[in-house]
Every structure is written in C-alpha cells, then in structure tokens.
C-alpha cells in the first residue's frame, strides 16, 4: 500500500468529516420541519402531524416523497435563469457557512483565520436568494415580499456584525477555534450579554423566522417571495430556512456558550445539547409571539438594537483597556 500516504489519509479523513457535517446539517434541517410541527402542536394544545408511523415519526418521509414527486412548475412570466438560481443561492450560502463551525476539538471542516467574516460574507450573499427569487417570479406579492425581506435583512445585518465584535475583541481573533478556546474558563455570554441578545434577535431576523417573518407574512403577502415556487425549488427555500436555524443555533453556541466545553459529557454531546436547546427556543418563539408590524420591526432594529451594540462595543473596549493597563 505505497499510495496510502499519511497526506492522502488526512485528505480522505477531512473529506469524510466535511461530508458528515454537510449531511448532518441537511438532515437535521429536514427533520426539524416535522419536529417543529409536533412541538407547535404540543404548545398550542392540538395534535400536530401524528398519523404517519408511530407518533408521526414517518411524516418526514411522506413530506419528502411528496415534495420530490410534485410538478416543478416555472411560471411562463418568470425570468427563468434567475428563478432557478435563487433557491440554489438560498440553500448553498447557508450550507457553506457550516464550514467554519468547530464541532469538537477534532471535528470541523475549515480552520480559517477569517472564520467569522466568512459567515458574514455568506449571510450577505444569502440576501440575493430572496431578492432575485421575488423579482424573477414576476408577481407583485413576491416582489413586495422580496422588498421587505431585503430591507429587513440589510438593517439587521448591520448590527449583527457589530454585536459579534465584542466577542472578537475578547478572544482576539476571528478564528472560531480560538474563540471557543478562549471560553475555557467562562462563557462569553457573561461579559457579552448584550452582544448575545442582539445577535440572537438579528439571527432570527436574518433567517426570516417568526416573529420576523415579514417577507412571507401569509395574511398580507400570500407567502411573499416564494409564492410562485413549487416542488423541490420550494423545498430548497423551505429546508434552507431550517438549515439557517441550525446554523444560527450552532453559531450562538460556539460564540457565546463555550462550544464543546462542559463537564462530564463528551464534547460532541455538549455541542449537540446546546444547539438543540436553541433550536427548541427558535420554535418556542414561533409558538409564543405574534408578528409585529413591519415599520415597528425596522424601528426596533435601527433605534434600539444598533445603538445597543455600539454601546456594548464601546464598553467592552473600555473595560478591556482598563483591565489590560
């Protein structure tokens, strides 16, 4: 076995890790669609999907079969190339962001030193999925949804970046592994509580989850930017939203809750438990909160969250200078 060199083994192992993380993210996103409906049923005192298989566990298979075999219709008035491109951007940009997340000390895809900036870049590209999808549909409700979505996402991305700069300053690095390692003693949620609060709000808004699902407000916009989509193209938007949820939860865990750190249990279990907690929190938000009016959402972002992140960054810098000197 002369061709089986250590370098080749390292490459194969890295590719295996990347594949497992990719499949894990997609499958978790798909499974969440059913988990969310069951949990919503529980919290809203109704049954939820409970017919397929024991306790409705096979609902996911039924949904997948349906979505694969549905007619994939492109409206004749749509802009064909962009109509096809939009769901690909929605899905791919979020999945690519998983590259930077370190799951355990040994597991993770890429160890880039610009780590966090890569996520911001992908979040920036993700805006185009909604914008192009809404425009290329040739439908006024879709266009209105896309307009709202891009305005909301742009506003919330501004302070999403700023809210994490406190963490970056404390860890002294954009690299996600360095950030996790810096949380060995205490989690960053303690010194960076306002950073966490604003990042969580921005994360919910950027993934268009309730209560920030303005772009797809059913009552006003008949589903917003993906109203013309069907079949697997809709599926990519739909699963993409849940993949975004997984991504934001994993990022919160990595940045504020010490990543894989924790007593007794193995690192992978700690990471999964913490991420699961935030996924359930996302779903609980949807079950508990009504959707605010659109202008209130924008006002809240610009007039409350942005100043809060700026003050947080200023205070973090001041305290670090005081302690350091």
């Amino acid at each position: 076995m002369s061709w089986w060199t250590p370098e080749l083994a390292a490459i194969v192992w890295a590719m295996f890790q990347a594949l497992v993380i990719l499949l894990g993210a997609v499958l978790l996103g798909a499974a969440l669609t059913v988990v969310e409906r069951r949990l919503l049923g529980l919290w809203q005192d109704r049954h939820g999907p409970n017919r397929v298989g024991p306790f409705g566990t096979m609902q996911l298979v039924a949904d997948m079969l349906k979505i694969f075999f549905k007619e994939d219709w492109i409206p004749p008035f749509a802009d064909r190339p962009l109509f096809v491109l939009a769901p690909i951007i929605a899905f791919a940009s979020l999945l690519l962001s998983f590259v930077i997340i370190p799951i355990t000390p040994g597991w993770g895809v890429a160890d880039m030193h610009i780590g966090l900036l890569f996520f911001f870049a992908m979040a920036g590209v993700n805006v185009y999925a909604v914008l192009l999808g809404g425009w290329s549909s040739g439908n006024k409700y879709a266009l209105l949804g896309a307009m709202r979505a891009s305005a909301q996402t742009l506003s919330y991305e501004v302070f999403m970046g700023l809210s994490l700069m406190g963490v970056v300053a404390l860890a002294g690095s954009f690299n996600m592994r360095d950030i996790v390692n810096a949380q060995e003693g205490f989690w960053f949620i303690i010194p960076q509580f306002f950073g966490f609060a604003t990042f969580f709000i921005a994360g919910v808004a950027v993934t268009h989850r309730h209560p920030f699902d303005q772009p797809e407000a059913e009552q006003e916009l008949a589903d917003g930017y993906h109203v013309e989509y069907s079949g697997m193209k809709f599926g990519m938007f739909f699963i993409g939203e849940y993949v975004g949820m997984v991504l934001i939860s994993a990022l919160i865990v990595t940045l504020f809750f010490g990543g894989w750190h924790g007593p007794w249990l193995p690192p992978i279990l700690w990471f999964a438990l913490k991420t699961g907690f935030f996924l359930v929190l996302f779903i609980l938000l949807r079950a508990a909160l009504p959707r605010p009016r659109y202008d209130r959402v924008m006002n809240f972002g610009w007039k409350v969250c942005l100043p809060l992140t700026l003050i947080n960054l200023l205070a973090t810098g001041a305290v670090m200078l005081l302690i350091g000197s």
Partner: protein, 175 residues
Amino acid sequence: MELAFYLSSLVAVLATVGVITGTNPVHAIVYLIVSLIAVALVFFALGAPFAGALEIIVYAGAIMVLFVFVVMMLNLHPDAEREQTWTHPRYWLGPSVLALVLLAALVALLGQGGVGETIDGELLTAKAVGMTLFGPWLMVVELSAILLLAALVTASHVGRRSNPLRNNENRGGTP
C-alpha cells in the same frame, strides 16, 4: 495559488463583459456581483483573505443589494434597441484608445521593474491589516471617518421630513 488567481481573474473579466453587453438590467447586476466575488477570490489567491472577505461583505453583500433594490423598484425592461445606439463605436472608440495607451504604459512599467514579486500565498492576517491601518495610516482612517460622518449628516438631512406640522395639515388632519 497561481492557477486560482488566473482563473478568478478570467471570471472577473468575463463577468464584467457580461455587465456591459447584457440588455437586461437585473441580469447585468447579477454579472456585476459575480465579478465582485471573483475579485474577492483574487484577493484570497494573493494571500489577503481579510480584504477578500471585506470585498464580499461590503460590495457584494451591502452595496450591490441597494443596486438590485433600486433596479427592481424602477421596473426596468430589457431594451435592446436603445442599447444598440449606446454601443455605437463613436461612443467607445475614444475612451478605449486612451485606455490602451494607459495599458501600454502599465505593461512598460511592469517590464522595467525586473522579475518583481510572484504570488507566494503568504497570509496577510486581519491583525496585520489593523496594525497598519491604525499605525502609519491613522490619519487616512480618521479622514475617511470624517467623510463618512459628513455623508451620514447629509443623508439624514435629505431624508428628513420637511415639517411634521405642515405634513399633518396636508393630509387633512388625519393622525
């Protein structure tokens, strides 16, 4: 590294040609976004991932979104006939000749500089960029901060409501 540099440069050039020759405004903007991402990849290949990431975040992620926004609001349609008159040689011949002269000067200068630097994939970290910006170039950072502040004040002045009281009267007293 060199292969990545030349490939992404080629993509950038082709995408930019697509911006100019396309007749559909939204398609042209998508080409421009691709071009910007290709330029970001050029930065990555040159060993400046910080600049590359900022290129995507600032240009592709923020500025181009506003472009797309405006073009969508204007509801422009593909207009091949009008574009035909714009691409008449009369309009582009002069600038092209001038640009060619510049290109010749650039090539001559590059030829004079000896072997020069090659792409070695040395990593320029965010820390190094920050140390340079807030060390020798602090003045430039502060000047651009003042410029941005002036732009902010101007934007809020242009965007403000002229007189809230009079606006209410014009709307017939509705709250």
